[in-house]
């Protein structure tokens, strides 16, 4: 099982908070990996919010290849950051030789490009780099997008934290949105791409559980968008569905639930919007999930979303105070971060709900 967490804060936070959030949930996962995504960045990235950041890990050859591709396309390096590696002996981690986080300026050709054109360029570039890295297995690209930083590694989350010196708080590396997950994809081969959170064009998703409709989802998604690739984990399907619905179809987030866990016909028949819901159910039946899942997501406007499967088979709880909202699998994690919060304000999402945490941390609860 995975343990997942998502934090949204009014103040900048250091990723050590994610390690602390997940620490108490250790027996809920299997101590096999740690990955996190930081969005709405502060610290050294705060002044480059509009510029894309390449997040990758690779061999010397791999990172060089990626840089070459960027340079050839006309991107210019603005800032490079690498984690402070602690080579302490005995750490349970399988590190890559290099970790690269590089802020770049758009090519001159895109100086006056529209937002859409820029996004196209970023996707094309990311796909190109991924392909190049896959050719000789020389690395992994996790994101190439503004204001977003992704790190994934195999091993014990605590030791991964130590290796990257993430336990020591600093103001250099911080953000207002942090999503994190513990565990590698131990059902199958250990593959870095299979670790949540998954990211695509400003959308982040973490999921807990088995997607029993993976085969259906995958076959349908593979034709929907050129960026829907990989499928190393059945949970990637949740990201692609979210992206498709919200970014491509431009449907309100409330309809995500109607796509992944559509209501039974007899319930739909009683509603005034039945015509729409029946159409959605038929048209997107291949994106239904039918297994046990909790899905946490971050949208491009940095609002956070939480939904569960229709049988409520996976745990999740949301705790909050005035400055921070924390969604995670087990309340023990929230108790670590916010021990003095008002417990009665905790939210236990039901099988019918979509919970959205808006920019100002207000909570919207939508019943399906």
């Amino acid at each position: 099982m995975c343990r997942i967490g998502a934090i949204k804060s009014k103040k900048y936070l250091h990723p050590s908070i994610a390690l602390k959030l997940m620490r108490s949930q250790q027996e809920g996962h299997d101590d096999s990996g740690f990955a996190f995504i930081m969005q709405d960045l502060g610290g050294i990235f705060e002044h480059h919010k509009d510029l894309p950041i390449l997040s990758m890990a690779g061999t010397v050859e791999g990172t060089r290849k990626a840089e070459d591709i960027l340079l050839n396309l006309g991107f210019k390096r603005v800032l490079q950051w690498t984690p402070n590696i602690n080579h302490q002996k005995g750490l349970k981690i399988e590190p890559m030789p290099n970790y690269m986080f590089e802020v770049v300026q758009y090519p001159k050709s895109h100086k006056y490009a529209t937002q859409e054109e820029k996004e196209e360029l970023l996707i094309d570039t990311a796909l190109k780099i991924r392909k190049a890295l896959e050719e000789d297995n020389s690395g992994y690209i996790y994101a190439f997008w503004p204001d977003t930083l992704v790190l994934k590694e195999i091993g014990s989350p605590k030791d991964i934290g130590t290796y990257f010196s993430l336990w020591e708080e600093n103001t250099e590396l911080c953000s207002k949105v942090i999503t994190a997950q513990c565990r590698q994809n131990t059902n199958y081969d250990i593959v870095r791409y299979a670790a949540h959170p998954f990211f695509l064009e400003g959308y982040t998703v973490l999921a807990n559980g088995e997607n029993t409709f993976y085969e259906k989802n995958r076959l349908y998604q593979q034709n929907l968008n050129r960026a829907y690739i990989g499928f190393e984990s059945d949970s990637q399907c949740f990201l692609y569905t979210l992206h498709y619905l919200h970014k491509i179809l431009k449907w309100p987030i409330q309809y995500y639930k109607h796509v992944i866990t559509p209501l039974p016909i007899e319930k739909i028949e009683k509603r005034t919007d039945k015509d729409i819901l029946l159409r959605i159910k038929a048209s997107l039946s291949h994106l239904e999930i039918n297994g046990p899942n909790t899905v946490l997501g971050v949208l491009p406007d940095y609002s956070m979303v939480c939904v569960c499967d229709s049988k409520k088979l996976r745990p999740v709880v949301i705790g909050r105070n005035d400055d921070m909202v924390v969604m995670t699998s087990e309340v023990a994690g929230i108790n670590e971060l916010l021990p003095d919060r008002d417990l009665s304000k905790d939210i236990y999402p039901t099988e019918n709900e979509t919970i959205v945490i808006k920019e100002d941390l207000t909570v919207e609860r939508w019943q399906q």
């Binding site: 949930q25 809920g28 336990w167 087990e330 023990a332 108790n335």
Partner: protein, 352 residues
């Protein structure tokens, strides 16, 4: 009082280490623990004091899943805040108090002891609770509400869901509660919606009120909310849910009745044919016959072989085959020495 800290900077004591440490201390005679946990599982479960005259007492901060799981008689656990899933799983006699909320499947399979929750409990809570009559009845008290699918497959014991602070909820038991419930009782205060069809919602009997009245004060003082006593003891706001005692098997309307009362009058072929829908037996008489005998007077010599041998005694002295008796077997035709009987195919169609 034994105090255990489970965090040392970023190093966390694993569940296994903590449980072994607790057991070692119990073996050394300790009975009272105060544990600052960090999500470790199964704290307080399946242990007993070395000195049987004593009880085991735990005060916990931030335990993980399955607090008091497989808890035994003589174990007392108090958790100050909220806990994750499976609180009191397979409880076999412990008293477990959670002052905050419990995650999903609280009291799952609880078979004895008491679980007192000062907040909410999650989905599938109370599932498969049961009661072995040789042991004390399991009790599961919840101040607020449960998540959906609560009390699935419940087989025994008592749950009390007080519905405090739940005025806005459509159902204090969530949706699809009590599916497959075969035994036990769920007392509930407040709105209930969409429970399984195998249970019924009943008003309280005097004995129910006595049970609730005697337990409510105890419950509220355990969770430190005695101030709510007045609010929660207005028994007119309470109901109980039990499996339907005698199942009245709902019989579907027969097809015959459906055809005669709801189906198109006279049958859908009524415009072409008249069919009374009577069913002919195999080898029947009259119109059911595949073949009908015809007698030719000219050929008959009056030997009466046909009359004597007809298995249905259908042929009269004047050689008329009685259609109410004749099944069209053809024996008359076979035996007639002069072929005076001939079998003619009955190709009649159903008509108006």
């Amino acid at each position: 009082m034994e105090r255990i800290e489970t965090l040392n900077n970023e190093n966390r004591m694993s569940t296994q280490e903590l449980l072994q440490l607790i057991q070692a201390k119990i073996d050394a005679g300790c009975t009272d623990f105060e544990i600052n946990a960090c999500g470790q599982h199964n704290i307080g479960g399946s242990s007993w004091a070395k000195d049987k005259s004593k009880t085991l007492n735990f005060v916990l901060r931030n335990p993980g899943q399955r607090v008091g799981a497989m808890g035994m008689k003589g174990t007392f656990i108090v958790v100050e805040g909220s806990v994750p899933a499976d609180t009191g799983w397979l409880n076999s006699g412990a008293e477990i108090i959670v002052k905050g909320d419990c995650g999903d499947t609280a009291a799952h399979c609880a078979a004895s002891g008491e679980i007192y929750v000062g907040g909410r409990v999650g989905a599938r809570s109370g599932a498969l609770m049961k009661h072995d009559p040789k042991f004390k009845l399991p009790e599961f008290w919840v101040l607020k509400n449960t998540g959906s699918f609560s009390f699935e497959f419940m087989g025994g014991g008592v749950a009390v869901i007080c519905g405090h602070d739940c005025e806005k909820l459509k159902s204090v038991l969530g949706e699809r509660s009590c599916v497959g419930m075969v035994g036990g009782t769920v007392y509930v205060r407040g709105a209930v919606d969409n429970v399984a069809s195998c249970v019924e919602i009943l008003p309280l009997a005097q004995s129910d009120i006595e049970f609730l009245a005697s337990g409510m004060e105890r419950f509220l003082s355990k969770i430190g909310r005695i101030d709510l006593k007045k609010e929660l003891t207005n028994w007119s706001e309470w109901h109980k849910i039990q499996p339907i005692a005698v199942k009245t098997s709902q019989k579907r309307m027969s097809i015959k009745e459906f055809r005669e009362t709801e189906w198109i009058e006279g049958g859908i072929f009524g415009e072409f044919i008249s069919d009374d829908f009577s069913v002919h037996e195999l080898a029947g008489t009259g119109d059911s016959r595949c073949r009908i005998p015809e007698w030719n007077k000219e050929l008959c010599i009056g030997c009466n072989i046909c009359i004597k041998n007809c298995p249905q005694k259908a042929i009269s002295e004047s050689f008329v085959a009685d259609s109410e008796k004749c099944i069209g077997c053809g024996i008359c035709a076979a035996l007639c020495p002069k072929s005076a009987w001939k079998m003619v195919n009955n190709n009649k169609e159903i008509t108006k």
